[in-house]
């Protein structure tokens, strides 16, 4: 499929609003300026855009809005040059966007199969479109056994992203949240500790072989959880993970995002675990 606009050139997008999610994380709601591009622009959950601050540079950021939302949402942790520059922007300012790039989650599975969603930290950003999509397409009268579990881990209560939204997700998902640690003044009554023990709170057993898992988070977290999932009977072919690399061009021509022979920007960022299991086992590929 040929794109109707040139993805090698940034297009202008204006900032409608900015929301401070946590101490170092901001959400930017964007609107594409050009009408033709706005109509032609379509993304799949799990894809990313290259956000451009001309004069500073470009950074790959996953898309966090739902496919049918009327704004384009990007949730950014202030870490490098581009994200720091972005953090100084205000509503009304304009930035550059190229995209969407990448493959996205296998959404047909979100409807057909039993689903398990696991996110760690900022890893919820590329999964939020899936959550939004499922919230919108909520099946009425789902039996308790069909409610998909949503597991989320954050460093501390105040680092929980989209915290106010989890209440609405609870209508569709069996939500389990844990934090690494909680200060007493944070009034946290939920789980404290690592994510794997949360897998014991959801009943997988007989459903495990045909459960599909979507996972995104730090690579060590994903590797560790995948091991646990496999031990609980999930199949490697049904586990999908979104990888992080330093995409620079988004088009498979700069080489930065290579994970062995895979270009994370175009072969990923979502991979079927089974296809990359051998590569994940080797350090520093």
């Amino acid at each position: 499929m040929k794109d109707t606009y040139d993805k090698s050139l940034p297009f202008a997008a204006s900032i409608r609003w900015i929301k401070k999610e946590t101490r170092d994380t901001l959400s930017f709601a964007l609107r594409i300026e050009d009408e033709h591009i706005r109509k032609a622009y379509a993304f799949a959950p799990g894809q990313f855009n290259m956000l451009s601050v001309p004069g500073v540079g470009e950074a790959p950021i996953s898309i966090s809005s739902g496919p049918s939302d009327d704004i384009l949402l990007h949730t950014i942790r202030v870490a490098g040059d581009v994200t720091t520059a972005l953090s100084r922007f205000e509503a009304g300012n304009v930035l550059g966007v190229r995209g969407p790039f990448g493959n996205g989650w296998p959404m047909e599975r979100a409807e057909m199969k039993r689903l398990l969603i696991i996110a760690g930290g900022l890893g919820i950003a590329p999964l939020r479109p899936v959550l939004r999509y499922m919230l919108k397409n909520e099946k009425p009268n789902a039996s308790p056994a069909e409610i998909p579990p949503l597991i989320y881990g954050a460093r501390s209560p105040r680092n929980i992203l989209f915290r106010d939204e989890f209440r609405s997700y609870a209508a569709v998902f069996d939500v389990h949240i844990t934090v690494d640690k909680a200060d007493p003044q944070e009034h946290w009554s939920g789980n404290i500790g690592l994510m794997p023990p949360l897998l014991d709170k959801i009943s997988l057993s007989s459903k495990a072989p045909d459960t599909t898992a979507f996972i995104c988070g730090p690579e060590v977290m994903m590797r560790c959880l995948i091991e646990e999932l496999l031990a609980r009977g999930l199949r490697g072919e049904n586990i999908f993970l979104s990888m992080e690399r330093n995409m620079n061009c988004g088009m498979g021509t700069c080489g930065h995002c290579m994970f062995a022979q895979k270009f994370v920007c175009k072969d990923g960022p979502v991979f079927r675990y089974q296809d990359i299991a051998a590569l994940l086992a080797v350090k520093e590929l």
Partner: protein, 374 residues
């Protein structure tokens, strides 16, 4: 008879930028050339980490082999402008550079003619044609420079001491991807067409008829050349040797010798990695709020190397922190990953990485060390 090569330059000169071999600082490089620039009769001596050029007193014209340069410097320039930007508080203007329908980057530019490209580089060119315009997104810089380019390929008759294209199956004879193929015979050049445009060009040259005798001489010369190869690589066992040995202790051994200068990636005709960055016009900055300046500049793309320490850097860390991992990535990309990515070999056996490595690291020997020995 051999001076008739000049006819080529006269016929092509007005419509092409002829890029061919010439001597600069004691090395055969590629540049825009005239007939007289061809280093006729020079012979190079190449060993790991060594290159020497000397005049040879024989009647051969193309007795030199590949220098550090390849077509890639012209089709994928070391520095290329991607677009011009103008940023202001409530807007953003993006203008792409003037790409020419005729080929070449500017409206007045002429398409490129590669004169004297060898078999190994033709394979690399074929690969480049998949890397750049091959994806879902067009690469307009490459596309424009490649458009209407003319390929006058030469059969190699003198492999350098570091050449191993015979074992990778990518030379020394040119098989396709050319407009005209040239073989230097004892007293003349044998010209063969490889495309309709090549045929057209041959029609413009005052040529004599070539027959059975010339074909036979060409075969003999290529066979003689094949017997001169000194290096080979276990191409039949690729990519398995690499994939089975990603944890081999030998990578550590290479890392101890590797200087990480990135020379190999610069001279390799298949290496394509790059980084883009913004260059702001110093005079173009205005505005009072330092957080939101009005400015203009260009986004440039420059060659990079997977040996750069920050090549795989993200905000949370570096995916290839060790030198061992960076070398392994390069060699595995050449010998295993590229075949998977683009369906063509990533190493074309030109031997440039061996010649231009200041530490004399030899990819054929390093692969040999990874091979299980019975």
């Amino acid at each position: 008879m051999k001076s008739r090569l000049k006819d080529f330059f006269e016929v092509l000169g007005p419509s092409y930028r002829i890029i061919g071999p010439k001597i600069e600082n004691g090395v055969v490089i590629l540049a825009e050339i005239k007939y007289g620039d061809i280093p006729a009769g020079y012979r190079d001596s190449q060993k790991p980490g060594r290159y020497r050029l000397s005049p040879e007193k024989d009647s051969q014209v193309f007795s030199f082999s590949s220098g550090p340069d390849s077509f890639k410097r012209f089709l994928n320039p070391p520095l290329a402008e991607l677009f011009h930007f103008h940023r202001f508080e409530t807007g953003l203007g993006i203008t792409s550079p003037p790409f020419s329908e005729k080929g070449g980057i500017s409206e007045t530019g002429l398409p490129i003619c590669f004169m004297g490209i060898r078999a190994c580089d033709l394979w690399a060119l074929k690969l480049y044609d998949r890397i750049f315009p091959g994806g879902r997104v067009r690469d307009r810089t490459y596309e424009s420079l490649r458009r209407n380019s003319l390929i006058i390929a030469f059969n190699c008759l003198y492999p350098s001491g570091n050449c191993f294209c015979l074992s990778t199956g990518t030379g020394p004879e040119v098989k396709d991807t050319f407009d005209v193929a040239v073989t230097e015979l004892k007293d003349s050049f044998l010209l063969e067409e490889g495309s309709a445009r090549g045929k057209e060009i041959l029609g413009l040259l005052p040529l004599g008829h070539a027959g059975e005798r010339q074909s036979l001489e060409k075969r003999e010369r290529i066979e003689t050349c094949k017997a001169l190869f000194r290096k080979s690589i276990a191409a039949d066992e690729l990519p398995e040797i690499i994939f089975r040995n990603l944890d081999h202790p030998h990578w550590e051994d290479i890392a101890r010798r590797d200087l990480e200068c990135g020379n190999c990636t610069q001279v390799c005709p298949t290496c394509f990695c790059n980084t883009s960055y913004d260059f702001v016009y110093p005079g173009g900055i205005s505005g009072e709020d330092k957080c939101n300046l009005e400015l203009s500049g260009r986004r440039l793309r420059k060659w990079d190397s997977c040996f750069s320490r920050d090549f795989a850097q993200v905000h949370g860390g570096n995916f290839r922190l060790s030198r061992k991992a960076r070398y392994r990535h390069w060699m595995a990309h050449k010998l295993a990953y590229m075949q998977d990515q683009f369906g063509l070999p990533g190493c074309v056996g030109c031997g440039r990485c061996i010649t231009w490595c200041p530490a004399g690291i030899d990819i054929t020997r390093e692969l040999e060390a990874l091979r299980p020995h019975s």
